[in-house]
């Protein structure tokens, strides 16, 4: 076995924190190596060093036993390093082929035919002529993976690749990684899902607060040991028995939309209900009508068109109500996009809190009661464990997980009777995730009706009392979560439910 990549004593400090402190690890030919750790543990910085985006303060890098200095991503690519970023490095106004052509210095037409070739070798496909701006998160990630595969790569870095895939797609990815590994390509696999790591990774390095806290062989180490190495002592969430009310709180009848702008899937005659005290989960790969469903429920869709069918809160039809009216009748909403929909990037947490909480006694004669808003912001931060430089920090200064805790906390603060949450823990580290799960379950037990739309099946099985899936704008049957197998749910996510039941 030869060593593909070796890191020796890598150190990188930013003002105020040491992101990587004396980190060493090595990667053999064909090895799939997991890098584990919470957000902020230093994984991203380390990957950016390997990919040449940032330079280390100290330490050495070896590729195939030769010492190298990687000054730029172009250097990294010339050494055969490919990276799939967690935050996609794609350009919305360009087509798939153009995006890939840009990185590979080829002509879009050549790239299109290369994409077609990959379709047969790896069963991985995105239409080359589609505009990236119209793709779902899952498809965008596929574009990133395709872009790496089209280069002659020896080392592939994947930053949380499975968070947007169905179980079947994840299986395909794993098969793909095994093929690559067999061909001698080394893989660095960053994930929060320990079960995946245990399944496909040959070895793992665990980071905690910028330092290596352990090196293990995934199959031979128990999950609880792993969890402890990553986050110290914290018990993980277990679901308690559901005490759902018998009457439905949210009733959706025959909901149909035309294609929603930015999402080419329309809803077809959706019928479901959510009761108080239960969590309903709707699975599905992005782009199958989730956008349309979310905006129909939040009321945003009324800007474009009134959907057909009916939506009732607590017996009252709200199909014609605006988002503000729906919120004031007790609906809380945690949208998929944190920056842009959930919070305003360049506004402070205080202002962001005011945005949806203004009805909570924060206004006095139409004027903002600044002290009350600050008080509320502080209480959200304290109650939900949001790590932030302060209440005046802008929303975009917070990490994804902390911002999500803040947005969720802001909605929970209003004691909603119905909460709709999209991808509540997407890209969130394991301790923040457990925190959010606990909050959602507490909310459920206090009698709130909760609807979760997510691509993460582990999440849905952990949280939900009933479960279904959305595919091509149609809803599968809804069943109790403990009676649905992962395989069954995967089938639903692929649309195989019309003839089944």
């Amino acid at each position: 076995m030869t060593t593909r990549l070796a890191l020796k004593n890598i150190t990188k400090a930013y003002p105020g924190c040491v992101a990587n402190d004396d980190i060493s690890f090595s990667l053999n030919r064909g090895e799939i190596h997991a890098l584990l750790g919470e957000n902020g543990a230093g994984k991203s910085t380390l990957m950016n060093i390997i990919y040449g985006v940032v330079q280390p303060d100290a330490g050495e890098l070896f590729i195939n036993d030769v010492k190298v200095t990687i000054n730029s991503p172009a250097d990294a690519r010339s050494y055969g390093i490919g990276m799939v970023f967690q935050h996609f490095t794609l350009f919305d106004s360009m087509t798939v082929a153009e995006n890939i052509a840009l990185a590979l210095a080829q002509k879009p037409a050549e790239v299109s035919s290369a994409i077609e070739a990959l379709r047969t070798t790896y069963e991985l496909y995105v239409e080359p002529e589609k505009l990236v701006g119209t793709l779902s998160m899952g498809e965008k990630q596929r574009v990133e993976i395709i872009r790496c595969l089209l280069q002659d790569i020896q080392i592939l870095i994947l930053d949380e690749p499975t968070s947007v895939l169905t179980p079947q797609e994840a299986e395909q990815l794993f098969a793909l990684l095994n093929t690559l590994s067999a061909k001698g390509c080394a893989v660095i696999f960053i994930s929060h899902k320990l079960s995946e790591v245990a399944r496909i990774c040959h070895s793992a390095t665990i980071l905690r607060r910028g330092k290596v806290s352990g090196k293990i062989t995934p199959g031979q180490t128990s999950l609880s040991t792993l969890t402890k190495l990553m986050m110290g002592d914290q018990s993980s969430v277990t679901k308690t028995e559901c005490r759902a009310a018998s009457q439905s709180f949210l009733t959706v009848e025959g909901l149909s939309t035309r294609a929603y702008p930015g999402d080419d899937t329309a809803l077809k005659n959706l019928c479901f209900d959510v009761k108080q005290g239960e969590i309903l989960g709707i699975a599905g790969v992005a782009g199958n009508g989730q956008e349309a469903l979310l905006s129909a429920l939040s009321g945003e869709i009324n800007q474009y068109q009134r959907p057909a069918g009916d939506i009732r809160f607590n017996g009252q039809s709200v199909i014609a109500a605006s988002p503000v009216e729906r919120r004031s009748s007790g609906m809380g909403y945690v949208p998929a996009e944190r920056l842009g929909r959930g919070a305003v990037a360049n506004m402070s947490l205080v202002s962001n809190a005011l945005l949806t909480c203004y009805g909570q006694g924060l206004l006095r004669y139409g004027f903002i009661n600044i002290q009350a808003v600050q008080q509320l912001t502080r209480s959200i931060i304290a109650k939900f464990g949001v790590r932030t430089p302060g209440i005046e920090a802008n929303a975009n200064q917070l990490s994804g997980g902390n911002l999500q805790k803040f947005i969720l906390g802001r909605e929970l603060q209003q004691q909603p009777r119905l909460l709709i949450a999209a991808h509540p823990t997407w890209g969130v580290d394991i301790s923040a995730q457990q925190h959010i799960y606990r909050d959602l379950l507490t909310l459920r037990d206090s009698g709130c009706a909760i609807l979760i739309i997510s691509e993460d099946t582990d999440e849905l099985f952990t949280l939900c009392d009933r479960i279904g899936a959305l595919c091509h704008g149609e809803l599968s049957p809804l069943m109790a979560a403990n009676q649905v197998s992962l395989d069954q749910l995967g089938q639903w996510m692929l649309g195989e439910f019309a003839h089944a039941s």
Partner: protein, 308 residues
Amino acid sequence: MDLDLLASLLYATFRTGTPILLVALGELICEKSGVLNLGQEGVMLMGAVTGFIVVSQFDSYALGIFTSVLTGIVMAAIFAFITLTLQANQVASGLALAIFGTGLSAFIGTDYQGQSIAGLPSLAVPHLSEISVIGPAFFQHDILVYTSLAATFLLWWNLKYARLGLILKAVGENPDAANALGLPVLKVRYLAVLFGGAMSGLAGAYVSLVYTPLWAENMTAGRGWIAVALVVFASWRISRVLLGAYLFGLASILHLVAQVFGADISPNLLAALPYAATIVVLVILSSNQTRHKLFAPLALAIPWHKSR
């Protein structure tokens, strides 16, 4: 209306539209890279005055035009250094550049105020220029008009089909992602700003050497501003910039024609017509938000620096 009038209308439309077209093309490239340079009016005036002085001193149009372009590049380099290297606010720096250029050009040109030169001779295209109506309208222009049309086509082709265009769009849409891919963000932006300056310098030369071959303080009369506005209302699309520039040219000519025919409208009102007409038409065209978004450089006017 006879055909000769039509021919001379078209001829004048081209001539009047050309300086705006030149500036707008340069500004479009600049904005596509994510830099908003509001100072083009000042750059244009500096190009106009330096070109005029060189021609009246040395009697060489080639040298004059070269000087104008060079002056434009120097002016743009100042702006680029302030906004890209020092990361100052682009709007404020652009406004300062416009005021600085206007003042400095007036100062440099004091001794030449009101002087005139013989205009750049036109370049009739053999054979084609002899066709009636079409010949005088399209094929009896000077070299700069043809240059501006060639530049329009080249830039359009580059933005649509070439790698250079992709790089430019990438840098203007998402500089962080472009940097992660290893594209030289600052270098691209520098070059785009300098190109914008060169085009404005050339437009300045057109105004003082061809369109009205004389020097008068502030002689560009807001064309630099209208060109900047044109880029936005044209939704950053070359074809619409071309359309807008000639629309402006046509409207400018029409107000002269209207005066000749003795239309009973205040001449001041008529003089405002081209500005109003251009903007109204382009606002209507750019009302489709999704299309607008598709072409807009998302990172426009946001300072960017490499390490975070």
